[in-house]
C-alpha cells in the first residue's frame, strides 16, 4: 500500500500512519437524552464510556434508526466534540466531593461530551435517539463528517489534534466558488505569517494544483524583522516531530523551491539594502518614467492623515499631468521624464518640478481651481515624502534598470522586503505592487495561474474607516480578485479594525490566539462560543479554521516552518544552491 488512499496526488503516507487510518471506528459512548442535555439534530450530548474518552475536536459518528416506512432506515449523524464535562454522580453537596475522596460516599465520575453536528445523512433532521452508540469517526467516516469526501480537489490546511489531515477545498481558494483567506491573531507569536507561509507551501507542494503549481505565483511583503528572507533555506533546527507532521500532511519538509528576494535599493546605488541576508537579493526601485506613466503618485498620499484630507482631486490632476509628460518625454525608453522643458533626473527634482507646475503663486496651473490651501498642503506632503521614498524612484540608476523592477514572474514566491522602510515608503511599495499585480492579472485576461498576495497588517492598508488608494486596490482584489485569479491571504491582529467588505469576501477565516475582548466581537461570528473561549488560549502553531463547507470551525495545528526564519536556523552546509533560482 504505497499509493495514497486519498487519491489527491499528495505524497504517500508512511506505513504506520496508514495502519492507524485503517481502523474505521471506535466506540466512545451513548447518545444522551436528558432534560438539560436533550439530543437535537444540530447538537447532542454523549455519555462517554468509562473505558474511553472523548476530547475537544474529536470527530464522532452516531447512527439512529427511523421508524419503519420512513424514507430511510437510519440516519447518520456526524459531528465534532465542542465541549466535554465531568460530574460526580451521587453527590448532592459541594462538600460531598471530600466525602467521596475519603471513601465515605460512593460517587462515580460521569463524563459527557457535546457534539456539534456537522452533517446529517440523509438529510432527515430528526434528533439522534438517546441510547444509540456513538463512535469516534476514522477514515472514510471522518472524511464524511468533515465533508472531505465532497472535495474534489483538496489542500491540506493543517492537522487536527489527533494528527489527522484537515483539508480545505481548492475550489474555495482558487476562485471557482470562492477565494481569499483572512487570518486574525495577536502579534508576537509570529503565527499569522507562519501559517500564511505554510498555506503557500501546502498549495505549492501538495500536488493539488497539478502542473499549474509551477506557474502559480505569490507576492509577499516582509514587514517585520527578517522572518521571510530565508524561505529558500532549510531550517536546521526543525525537530523530528515536525518532520513527522509534514509526512502526515503529505508535504515535503523542505524550504520553498523557487523564491526571489527584493530589497529596496540602497541610496546612490542599485545594490539592495540588506540585513543578515547578503546573497540572492535584488535591489528594487522604480524609474521616474514608470512613476509618472503608471500614476503611482497617489500611493505617496496613503497615510492615515492623507486619507481624511481633501487632497484627492489635486493628486488626480497632477497624476494626469505627469502621465501626459511621460508620454511626451523622449526617448521613450529613457528612465527620466521631461517636465516644463526640463529633464527631471531624480525624485527631488520631480518634486521641485511638480511644485513649479502646481503652485499658483509660482504661476502653476496643474492644480486647476483647487483652493490655495489644499495645493499648499499637497506640496508640503509631497516635499515631506522626499527623504523616505526618494531613493525608490530614480532617473538613470544602473545599466539595467529593468532588472531592478520587481518581477513576480521570476519565481513561485516573490518576497519584497520593506521592513527597513519608513511607514510612508512601505505604503507606497505595497500600494504600487498591489496595483501593478492586479492590473497585470486584469490585462492577462486569464484567472490561471493564480496570483497569491500575502499581506499582513490589513488593518493598516484597508482600515475600517476612511478611504485610501491602497484600500481601493484591496477592495478591488477582495471583490473582483476571485474571477481574476488574484487571491488575497490577508492577516491582521484585529479583524474588527479592517474594512468589513475585505473580510467578508474571504472564503476561509482563520483565528490564531485572540485577545479575549476582541474574540467577542461580531467579526468572529464564524467561531462558536466554545471556539471563542479557546481562541484566547491558543498556543503558537494552533489555529481555528472556518471554511465554507463545514458548519463548525476546526482547531488545527501546523508544523514549524521547514524553512529558516532567522540566520541562526540556516543550515549553510546543507544548502544546495543549484536548487534555487537566485535572483542576482
Amino acid at each position: 500500500m504505497t499509493t495514497n488512499r486519498d487519491g489527491d496526488g499528495t505524497a504517500p503516507l508512511t506505513s504506520n500512519l496508514l495502519d492507524a487510518s485503517v481502523e474505521t471506528s471506535t466506540h466512545a459512548g451513548l447518545v444522551l437524552g436528558m432534560e438539560d442535555a436533550a439530543a437535537t439534530p444540530l447538537g447532542f450530548s454523549v455519555f462517554v464510556d468509562r473505558d474511553h474518552y472523548l476530547q475537544l475536536d474529536d470527530v464522532v459518528h452516531a447512527r439512529s434508526p427511523l421508524p419503519p416506512g420512513s424514507p430511510a432506515e437510519t440516519v447518520d449523524f456526524y459531528g465534532v466534540v465542542d465541549e466535554v464535562r465531568a460530574v460526580q454522580e451521587g453527590v448532592r453537596f459541594d462538600s460531598d466531593v471530600a466525602l467521596a475522596s475519603e471513601g465515605l460516599l460512593p460517587a462515580e465520575p460521569a463524563v459527557t461530551a457535546h457534539v456539534a453536528v456537522t452533517r446529517v445523512e440523509p438529510e432527515i433532521f430528526v434528533p439522534p435517539r438517546p441510547g444509540q452508540p456513538v463512535s469516534l469517526a476514522r477514515g472514510d467516516e471522518r472524511d464524511r463528517a468533515l465533508f472531505f469526501d465532497q472535495m474534489a480537489e483538496r489542500v491540506p490546511f493543517g492537522l487536527s489534534r489527533d494528527g489527522e489531515r484537515v483539508y480545505a477545498n481548492l475550489e474555495f481558494l482558487n476562485g471557482t466558488r470562492g477565494a481569499h483567506v483572512n487570518i486574525s491573531g495577536i502579534s508576537g507569536v509570529a503565527t499569522k505569517t507562519s501559517y500564511a507561509m505554510f498555506l503557500l507551501h501546502a498549495l505549492f507542494e501538495s500536488g493539488t494544483l497539478g502542473p499549474e503549481a509551477a506557474n502559480t505565483r505569490s507576492l509577499i511583503f516582509n514587514v517585520k524583522g527578517e522572518d521571510l528572507l530565508f524561505l529558500d533555506k532549510p531550517n536546521a533546527q526543525l525537530a523530528d516531530e515536525d518532520r513527522e507532521d509534514y509526512a502526515r500532511l503529505g508535504l515535503p519538509a523542505e524550504p520553498f523551491r523557487s523564491v526571489s528576494f527584493y530589497a529596496p535599493a540602497r541610496r546612490g546605488t542599485p545594490a539592495p539594502e540588506t540585513g543578515s541576508r547578503m546573497d540572492g537579493v535584488t535591489g528594487f526601485y522604480w524609474t521616474l518614467r514608470e512613476f509618472c506613466a503608471e500614476r503611482y503618485l497617489r500611493f505617496l498620499f496613503a497615510d492615515a492623515d492623507d486619507e481624511r484630507s481633501q487632497l484627492g482631486l489635486v493628486v488626480q490632476q497632477v497624476e494626469a499631468q505627469l502621465a501626459l509628460a511621460a508620454r511626451l518625454s523622449l526617448p521613450l525608453d529613457a528612465p527620466t521624464v521631461e517636465i516644463g522643458g526640463e529633464v527631471v533626473t531624480d525624485f527631488d527634482e520631480l518634486v521641485d518640478a511638480i511644485g513649479l507646475m502646481t503652485d499658483p503663486e509660482e504661476g502653476g496651473t496643474w492644480a486647476g481651481r483647487a483652493a490655495a490651501g489644499t495645493v499648499q498642503a499637497f506640496l508640503r506632503r509631497l516635499d515631506a515624502a522626499k527623504p523616505y521614498v526618494g531613493h525608490l524612484i530614480r532617473g538613470h540608476a544602473s545599466e539595467d534598470d529593468a532588472a531592478h523592477v520587481i518581477d513576480t514572474g521570476r519565481a513561485q514566491v516573490t518576497v519584497v522586503d520593506i521592513h527597513r522602510l519608513h511607514d510612508r515608503a512601505q505604503r507606497f511599495v505595497v500600494g504600487v505592487m498591489l496595483k501593478r499585480e492586479f492590473e497585470r492579472k486584469e490585462a492577462s485576461g486569464s484567472p490561471r495561474p493564480l496570483m497569491l498576495v500575502v499581506l499582513d497588517e490589513l488593518n493598516k492598508y484597508a482600515p475600517r474607516e476612511g478611504r485610501s488608494p491602497i484600500k481601493d486596490v484591496l477592495l478591488d482584489i477582495a471583490e473582483r480578485g476571485r474571477s481574476l485569479g488574484v487571491v488575497l491571504v490577508g492577516a491582521q491582529q484585529t479583524a474588527s479594525e479592517v474594512e468589513p467588505r475585505v473580510v467578508a469576501n474571504c472564503a476561509y477565516r482563520v483565528a490564531g490566539r485572540l485577545d479575549a475582548a476582541e474574540a467577542q466581537r461580531g467579526e468572529y461570528g464564524f467561531l462558536t462560543a466554545a471556539a471563542r473561549a479557546r481562541a484566547s488560549l491558543l498556543k503558537p502553531g494552533s489555529m481555528i479554521l472556518a471554511q465554507p463547507e463545514i458548519p463548525v470551525p476546526l482547531l488545527l495545528r501546523f508544523p514549524h516552518p521547514a524553512w529558516a526564519t532567522r540566520p541562526s536556523e540556516v543550515a549553510e552546509d546543507e544548502v544546495d544552491y543549484s536548487r534555487y533560482e537566485l535572483s542576482d
Binding site: 451521587g90 453537596f93 460531598d96 475519603e102 471513601g103 465515605l104 460516599l105 460512593p106 460517587a107
Partner: protein, 333 residues
Amino acid sequence: MPLRLVPWSPEYGTGIEAETDAAADDGASLVDATVEGAWRAMSPDAAPVPAVQIVDGVRRVEAHAIDDSSDGSMAFGLFGSYAVGVVRCEGTRAHIPDDERVLRVRRRYLQAGGEAADRAVPVGGSVLHFRAELPAQAQAPADLVAALNRLMLDEEARLAEELSEDASTLTLVDGPLRLRAPGPRVVGYVKRTHRWYLGADRLALLGTLAVGERTPLFRIAEDTGQRDRLAWYLRIADMGTQFHHLSGVVRLETPGALPPSDAGALADQTALVLPRLASSPIRDPRAPQNLTPVGALEQLLTRRLGDRLWIRRRIAAALEPAGATFAVAAEAS
C-alpha cells in the same frame, strides 16, 4: 430536666421509640451484661480502619389494586418494587458494585387472597415482570405493604449471607440480625431503637460515651423468634447539646454463638469504622444513624426502581383491555 431535640426529621419518627418509663422492664430481664466484665465505656486500641460492606434495600408500592373475583368477593392487590444492594468502603474508595448479582431489583404483585397471576408490564423496549405472591394471612392493604417489606428484608438477608462469606471485610446489615447462616464477621446495625434491653442504671453509661466509645457486650437471650445475640451500644456522633444525648448512639448485634472475644473484636472494629460513616443532618433526615454511604446506596437503589409516575402509568396501560388500545390506534390512523 433540660428540653432537647431528637435529630431525625419528623416524618421518619424519632429513631428512639422504646418505652421511656424507667420502671418498665424493657427487656432488661433477658440480658446478661457481664460478658466483658465491668460496665464501663470502652474504646478500641488504635488500628487501621477495617474495610466494611453495608447491605441495604429500598422498597416502593407502585400501585394498590382490587381484584373482583367471579364469586363477587374482593381481594386487595399491590404492585411493589424493591431493590437491595451493597456499598463497600475500603480505604479511600467507596463504591456500589453495579452487577445484577449484587444489585438486585425485584418486582412483585402481591394479593390478599384469591388467585394471583404474574403481571407483565411493557415499558418502552422492555417488560417489567411483577411476579405474583399470595402472602399468608394478608387481608388489608397494610398487610401487603408489610409483606413487601418482608420480601425486601429477606432479600437483604440472603444477599448479606452470601456476601458475608467473605471474611476479609466487615459486613453490616440493616436492622436486628435476622440471618440464618451469617458469615464470620456480620454485624446488625440498629438505627431505630424499639427496646433498650438495659435497666436505667446501665443505660446511664450511654450518655457519657464519647464518639467512638462503646459499652461492653451484653447478651440478649432468645426472644420473640430471634436467636440470642451479643449486642453493644456505640456512640457514632456528637450531635451537640441541643440534641438528646441518646441521639448519637446506635445498637449493634452479632450472633450469640460467636465467642465473646471475637464479638468484642468485631465491636472494636465497628467503633473504628462507624463514626467515620455517620451522616450529617445536612444531607440526611435520619442523621447521624443513616450512614452516609447507605444514604447514597438508597438513592441509587431508588433510582434503579425507575420513575414512579411513569411505572404507575405503564401499569395502568397494561391493565387496559387490549381492544381499547387497538380502537384508539385505529382512530388515529
